[in-house]
Amino acid sequence: MADIYLDNNATTACDAKVVEAMLPYFLEQFGNPSSMHSFGSGVGRALSKARKQVQALLGAEHDSEIIFTSCGTESDNTAILSALKCFPNRKEIITTAVEHPAVLALCTQLEKEGYTIHRLAVDGKGRLDLDEYKKLLTPNVAIVSVMWANNETGTLFPVLEMAELAHAADIQFHTDAVQAVGKVPIDLKNSNIDMLSVSGHKLHAPKGIGVLYLKRGVRFRPLFRGGHQERGRRAGTENAASVIGLGQACELAQEHIECENVQVKALRDRLEQGILAQVPNCFVTGDADHRLPNTCNIAFEYIEGESILMLLNKQGIAASSGSACTSGSLEPSHVMRAMGIPYTAAHGTIRFSLSRYNTQAEIDRVVAAVPPIIADLRKMSPYWGENGPVEEPGKAFAPVYA
């Protein structure tokens, strides 16, 4: 039986058509698009086609608003650092507690360098409090950076509304849309979003290619200086084959956006309901009514995620976990902690993220595989009795150190 891949928020397989579009640019059309000869000019034309394909998916007004970068992380870093350069007197940044490390780790570093970081809190379902946000929109803020969709739970943030509020307060607004692009319809020309990050490998393009959308007229300072590539806003010879692959992937994403929101969503719901119906003591995390159509994150109480993943993997099923037992002790993900999920549940969170390549037969196999795995692991748990959690787990298991 073939393996089942349900970890598409981590990365996706390249679409065969994407690879096909890229191949000529390795051996035949290898020229540098900046060169003044025929080896380069064909590449140049292919790059501008790709730029238009990305523009179309994002609903950008101009194709020059598309800047190719090396990844989502670079786009995020570029956007935030640009705003700080542009507005040296503004020493505050607004973001959320549940951003990807591409934003959060940068902010933590900036905090050490003297910036004030406002990390908007979320409630138990991962939702923001817009009143708290509004109070923070002062002239001291250089940039707001809020993700469109959360990578762990799929929860969607009201970025269009938040961008409007930032715009009214004369503050730049950036959104990390790495998980949203291709799954949520996006129409940037009719929004107040100033900058937006895309990562190719989340939408069936290769790894190592990204986009920073930069609205025309928005003040900007490049991260890399050098040649005139990307109109001087991101120097460095273009990763031509990958740019072309990303263009193709964006065209395919546009064709499939309905499929994502109908078929893929139906499979996701089938998976989720199938598991919830059979497994006791588990629940969906995040804002189930406002989330990506492909993502489902389930917390299984009283067991640990890595063990679940290893047993799933043994049956050829790939997913991911919000628990990282890495250093010192178990650390549940910052997203689960921000939502206040109890540790005994946060450690057992499993994210299933689907793509248009998944089938109903695969989903049914997963629904059948999960319940016995959970039951087996619970047999080992000191918090689990014969048929359910032990009463007052805090008392039944009272370790010597805390």
Binding site: S307, C325, S381, A402
Partner: protein, 325 residues
């Protein structure tokens, strides 16, 4: 995913001695409900002989916590209490053919659960001296608390000092930023500003455990010298094993020492660095210039002069001169 040894996987997929032990007379609970890390070890001790007749575990833990607990119960079954108490977390890791550095704490938890269970059996209170911080150095599995305490105890000032005393930072050097942050924090407590350009006060590296067992360099016979080289390599071995590799002495030809890198060390990207580290250690211990070369280069008349990689620092000029004169 983690690169677990086959043994870890085997114990994870088929854990031994799982569950509660109805007639246990010693139970040790470690971990904390707050962070979800938890292990309960139950033992049944024969009061006459003080031999552990049965041991079981329950854990809310990751793959390596399950495997470590399973291994621990297998190791201690049939052992007298005093023998069992000598089981170290390294023994547990060794039994499993190694654990990734990030996962060593799972084996620490096992050892502590055992101490707690024995204390419970003996009716004494077990005090935990366990404190672990975030992992800073992956090469040598050193955490922040260990670095902080060593800095305080020895008045360390530089990253180099820290490397001498704890090994942290002495490998790939990727953790130097993290070590600087710890230094900045700890020195600030004493009202000192961390100076990244300060010169390390440690000229002589802290005597390593091996130094205690071997006489300082003097005139050694060839046999003594080879014996000593082997002892030094033996002392490095646990670190290599932790990465799933090993190193074997093949030939000593004056200042050139040929070794065989085996297991994960052979051909891995870190091999050059590892060899550099071994060379550095041999130079420190023998007090002479040493060149360590993979044995596969033995046929070549002019082997690669010095291994590449960060670990392969050139010896100071005096040492090189001494080597040739």
């Amino acid at each position: 995913m983690w690169d677990y040894s086959e043994k870890v996987k085997e114990h994870f997929y088929n854990p031994r001695n799982v569950g509660a032990l109805p007639d246990a007379n010693g139970v040790g609970d470690v971990g904390s409900l707050n962070c979800g890390d938890a292990l309960r070890l139950s033992i049944k001790v024969n009061p006459e002989t003080e031999v552990i007749e049965a041991a079981t575990f329950q854990t809310f833990g990751c793959g390596s916590a399950i495997a470590s607990s399973s291994a621990l119960t297998e190791i201690i079954k049939g052992l007298p209490l005093d023998e069992a108490l000598k089981v170290s977390n390294q023994d547990i890791a060794d039994y499993l053919d190694g654990l990734p550095p990030e996962k060593m704490h799972c084996s620490v938890m096992g050892r502590e659960a055992l101490q707690a269970a024995v204390a419970n059996y003996r009716g004494v209170e077990w005090k935990d001296d366990h404190e672990e911080g975030a992992l800073i150095c992956k090469c040598f599995a050193v955490d922040a608390v260990m670095i902080e305490e060593t800095i305080r105890a020895n008045n360390l000032r530089t990253v180099q000092d820290v490397a001498h005393y704890t090994k942290a930072g002495g490998g790939c050097a990727a953790c130097h930023e993290g070590i600087e942050e710890v230094l900045t924090r700890v020195l600030a407590e004493q009202g000192i500003t961390f100076d990244p350009e300060a010169v390390s006060k440690v000229d002589q590296p802290e005597p390593l455990p091996i130094a205690a067992t071997i006489k300082p360099a003097g005139k050694l016979t060839t046999v003594q010298r080879i014996h000593r080289i082997e002892q030094i390599i033996d002392s490095i071995r646990p670190n290599l094993r932790m990465d799933g590799g090993d190193c074997e002495l093949v030939e000593v030809d004056g200042n050139i020492i040929y070794v065989n890198m085996v297991g994960a060390c052979a051909g891995c990207g870190m091999a050059a660095m590892t060899i550099g580290g071994i060379q550095q250690r041999l130079m420190e211990e023998l007090g002479e210039f040493i060149r360590v070369i993979p044995a596969e280069h033995m046929q070549h008349p002019h082997p690669n002069p010095l291994p590449r990689g960060e670990g392969a620092q050139r010896a100071p000029v005096e040492q090189r001169r001494a080597a040739h004169g």
